[in-house]
């Protein structure tokens, strides 16, 4: 008989967070997992996906539905795909690639809304399109990553994808189709996800009955980009704190806990030695 493994405080905290995530999924409630640096956020995300594949995978794939997993970088996408065995029921992609995959079929609306977009600096799409006699029946593509117009195609930029997606989300039918196809949407590093995109999702889907179920994973303290949505608080979202820190020792975590009392963290080994040194500089 094997001895029951004694869990470390961090592991215990991690299990608690995961159980809360699973419960939210079971109850079909959107949730947000707030996890500080070193808390093992990606681990939780992968666990949640595995849980969903196990529980819903067969059912979803019979209905031609998938679980969306939106990552911030292609590197993160690769990691998650690897750890979920590239299950066909998971559609893991960056927000741009994912958004494009859901909007690219609606060419006629894309053509209608493209002229509303800013386009080149000081040179909006509307002007450029006027020069070529309007969008016509050109196919809108997002393959090159830079803007261009040829006889048969219009190539859009990275920065055009989300504004177009936001405009399509304004259509009821698009929203219905979208939430049928992706009844569950998990978002990694939500704090850096485009603020306008999040606002649109929030406007149309939060607090409404039925799918999609959103799962936000991230830490608004770690927001890097200016256009990210940052802290996300909404009554429709169940807050789950991941009170684990697998990276740092007690001395550091204790310090963090004093700085951020609302997200109390537990370490792996309370006895591990360490120290905090604060470097301070003026006029930086």
């Amino acid at each position: 008989m094997t001895e029951p493994v004694k869990l470390s405080p961090a592991e215990e905290a991690s299990e608690r967070a995961l159980a809360a995530v699973f419960q939210a999924i079971e109850e079909a409630k959107s949730f947000k997992l707030e996890a500080g640096a070193g808390a093992g956020k990606t681990y939780s995300l992968v666990k949640a996906l595995q849980f969903l594949i196990e529980k819903e995978g067969k059912h979803l794939s019979r209905l031609n539905q998938r679980i969306a997993c939106i990552t911030f970088t292609n590197a993160a996408k690769d990691v998650i795909e690897d750890r979920t065995d590239r299950s066909s029921v998971i559609h893991c992609d960056t927000i741009h690639a994912f958004s494009w995959s859901v909007i690219s079929g609606f060419q006629s609306q894309l053509r209608a809304h493209l002229p509303e977009l800013d386009g080149w600096t000081g040179d909006p799409w509307a002007e450029r399109l006027k020069e070529v006699g309007g969008t016509g029946t050109r196919t809108i593509e997002y393959t090159l990553g830079y803007r261009g117009i040829t006889d048969g195609t219009i190539s859009i930029h990275h920065n055009d994808v989300l504004p177009l997606t936001i405009r399509l989300l304004g259509y009821e039918k698009f929203r219905n189709i979208f939430c049928y196809q992706y009844p569950i949407i998990l978002i990694d590093e939500y704090q850096d996800t485009d603020a306008n995109w999040i606002a649109t999702i929030r406007e149309h889907y939060f607090g409404k009955d039925g799918p999609p179920l959103f799962g936000f994973f991230g830490d608004h303290w770690q927001k890097i980009y200016g256009n990210g949505c940052g802290e996300l608080v909404d009554p429709a979202i169940t807050e789950i704190g991941k009170e684990a820190n697998f990276r740092s020792v007690s001395a550091i975590v204790d310090c963090l806990n004093r700085m951020r009392p609302e997200l109390k963290q537990f370490v792996v080994d309370p006895e591990a030695p360490g120290e905090v040194r604060v470097y301070h500089t003026n006029g930086w």
């Binding site: 019979r62 209905l63 031609n64 399509l168 189709i177």
Partner: protein, 687 residues
């Protein structure tokens, strides 16, 4: 989600048709050669797993001129773009309906490209079209010069070879409200969306020339294959696994004792003494698998008396036919349930389910099939229902009449040009065509057709008559008419249905008859009466008729019979329906009031009708007619004594009826034969 309608262009007789499908069962009726089989064939070709090809013979006859026109444009140096527009294509457009508010899209999601909440259809287009850049090669090396009847043959011989190579299938999703808005797709994507199953008319049940016809056993094999799929329903998979387990056990024991014995039969290589051969000895391994056991060694048996098992073919053809169809339906159901990604719509075509069934069993078929689906669905209550839509094509009036009008689609061949050398099909949708008919009248028609086993849907022409006398004597009258005009169109070679409806109800059929474009002669009686609602009288005494059909025809007010018989013919024709009632045999002569009167008046000498005035003659005919017993009278002159003259009102009517054109039974035009490629795969006949 369901397949709401399908449009077909340029496939054989289906030059341009649209067919709406019912929620569950749609019944396709029509005479032979009306394109019923072509409809299922075109869907089979476009959705089959194998890469579908069409031959030039599959194009509608009218397309041949379009090929010529495209060739001419090429010679005239037109742009490829313009030539492409002239070239014919075979096309299948499928409109799927869904609920935009709660889209249960499944595989249909790929095909929705509009964002209009009012649009509840998604359109899938599949087109057999010249492949990109093929136009030059299509016409390359074909002798220049005008196309005349000689060069036409050469041209189409070339086309017959080139079209299968240079044409291909394109698939796209199209915005139903914007043809420019398209999204490319593939046949494989469509196959995820729509699965089609076929139960053909040729089921091989009555084929006793091939060894034993164990058609049912074949179905059993199919059921096993489905059950052993990775994705099959768990219960069935378990059965399949147990079967395999049982066979493995047998195999193991065979490979024990059996092998030892078998081994002794094999000479050891050493005894052959050839140098180098003795190194490895031969051994035996017997393998069994369920599939082969089913194919070769398992038969379906019926339990007979005293434990004797009867072979499959000992049961009546009708029963076997029915069992076969039902088992096939079950196997389609299982197939659907075993799909890892279930299709959105499962179309099941059943051709002529009536084969070998007696009428009562034919009638229950349609009702039964609905109940079977419910029972099957109960096996998987938690899963979404089987999205099956049946298309049943039939020549059985029992099946057609049992189905509601709404479910019937009537395939009508009509001439495509003035000379009627080319025919194509029009699909008549009774749900839409009978929309304006009052529900009460629809119910009447439905009841009537069911009760009388009427074959209206399969006839070229129809005659509505009053009663038994006409029914018994009409065949002789038709024969007399045909003989009087041997060189003209013969009525007896046309397929006619005779309905005994009577003047009180005949008018209720007018909507339906005109909608079916069925040329119809309504033979009725003047039924003269003294006044509206009054008692019967002679024609010249009458102020009105009690015949509802005539009153309806001439619109409301009382019709004075003396005026009626003066009405010009065109007033008695409405659309394809012509009204016939008694008239004078000779100018200023008497006019009968019923069929019997008119019959006597047409043969005054034979029956000794006498009188000084026309009115006296009419009166005498009436008196004599009333002494006859109707059926005895009719039988006598229908069988024993056929030497008489047909009353003019009927013979005129029959002449009118014989003149209308009728779709030919064989439509193979000489052109099609001329372009037949030697050795090309034999295609099933048109219908």
């Amino acid at each position: 989600m369901k397949l709401n309608r399908a449009k077909i262009k340029n496939f054989r007789l289906l030059r341009d048709v649209e067919l709406f499908l019912e929620e569950q069962t749609t019944v396709i009726v029509g005479r032979n050669n009306s394109g019923k089989t072509s409809f299922s064939e075109v869907i089979r070709r476009f959705t089959s797993d194998k890469s579908a090809t069409f031959q030039i013979q599959d194009f509608s006859s009218e397309c041949y001129d379009e090929f010529c026109a495209a060739f001419k444009a090429k010679k005239d140096g037109k742009e490829d773009h313009d030539i492409r527009a002239l070239l014919p294509f075979i096309e299948l457009c499928m409109f799927f309906r869904y609920d935009p508010a709660q889209p249960q899209l499944g595989p249909l999601g790929e095909f929705i490209i509009d964002l209009d909440m009012d649009c509840d259809e998604a359109l899938v287009v599949m087109r057999f079209d010249p492949i990109d850049g093929a136009i030059d090669r299509l016409f390359d090396g074909i002798p220049q010069g005008e196309i005349n009847s000689e060069t036409r043959k050469v041209f189409f011989r070339e086309m017959a070879e080139r079209v299968p190579k240079l044409y291909g299938i394109k698939v796209w999703a199209e915005d139903p409200n914007d043809t420019d808005n398209r999204k490319e797709s593939s046949q494989a994507t469509v196959r995820n969306l729509l699965k089609a199953g076929f139960i053909n008319a040729q089921r091989g049940l009555d084929d006793i020339t091939t060894r034993e016809s164990d058609v049912l056993a074949k179905v059993l094999e199919g059921l096993f294959s489905t059950a052993s799929l990775e994705t099959a329903d768990e219960k069935e998979r378990k059965i399949a696994e147990q079967l395999e387990e049982a066979v493995r056990a047998i195999q193991d024991s065979i490979n024990g004792d059996f092998r030892d014995q078998l081994q002794q039969l094999l000479p050891t290589l050493q005894t052959l003494g050839y140098p180098g051969l003795g190194g490895s000895e031969l051994t035996t391994e017997t393998t069994l698998d369920v599939q082969r056991l089913l194919t070769n060694h398992t038969k379906i048996r019926y339990e007979g008396h005293s434990g004797v098992l009867l072979p499959e073919s000992y049961n009546g053809l009708g029963m076997r036919n029915l069992i076969f169809i039902l088992l096939q339906v079950v196997s389609f159901y299982r197939e659907y349930r075993s799909l890892a990604q279930p299709s959105g719509v499962h179309l099941v075509f059943i051709e002529e389910p009536e084969a070998h069934l007696h009428p009562q069993m034919q009638e229950v078929f349609i009702r039964q099939i609905g109940e079977i689906i419910e029972k099957l669905n109960k096996e998987h209550e938690k899963d979404p229902k089987w999205p099956v839509q049946f298309l049943i094509s039939t020549h059985s009036s029992h099946i057609a009449n049992e189905a509601r009008f709404e479910a019937i689609r009537y395939f009508l061949p009509s001439p495509a040009n003035d000379k009627a050398t080319i025919w194509n099909t029009t699909v008549k949708d009774l749900r839409q065509g009978m929309f304006d008919t009052a529900p009460k009248d629809k119910e009447f028609l439905h009841q009537y057709l069911t009760l009388t086993r009427c074959d209206l849907f399969f006839a070229d022409k129809a005659i509505l008559i009053e009663g038994t006398s006409e029914r018994l004597m009409l065949p002789v009258m038709i024969e007399k008419r045909d003989q009087s005009n041997i060189s003209g169109p013969q009525l007896r070679s046309q397929y006619m249905t005779i309905m005994e409806v009577g003047g009180a109800y005949a008018h209720k059929f007018f909507d339906l008859l005109n909608f079916l474009e069925l040329q119809t002669l309504v033979v009725t009686d003047l039924d003269p009466v003294y006044a509206p609602g009054g008692t019967k009288c002679l024609v010249h005494e009458a102020k009105a008729t009690s015949n509802a059909c005539i009153n309806t025809w001439f619109g409301g007010g009382p019709c004075v019979p003396n005026n009626l018989i003066e009405k010009p013919e065109d007033e008695r024709i409405n659309g394809r329906v012509r009204l016939a009632y008694q008239c004078r045999e000779v100018d200023e002569g008497p006019c009968g009031r019923t069929f019997e009167d008119a019959f006597l008046l047409a043969n005054t000498d034979k029956f000794g009708i006498s009188g000084d005035t026309p009115n006296a003659l009419a009166s005498d005919a009436l008196e004599k007619a009333e002494t006859f017993k109707k059926s005895a009278f009719a039988l006598r002159y229908a069988i024993d004594d056929t030497d008489w003259k047909t009353p003019t009102y009927i013979s005129d009517g029959l002449n009118w009826l014989s003149a209308g054109i009728v779709a030919p039974v064989e439509t193979a035009t000489p052109l099609v034969e001329a372009v037949a490629v030697p050795g090309a795969a034999e295609e099933p006949a048109h219908d």
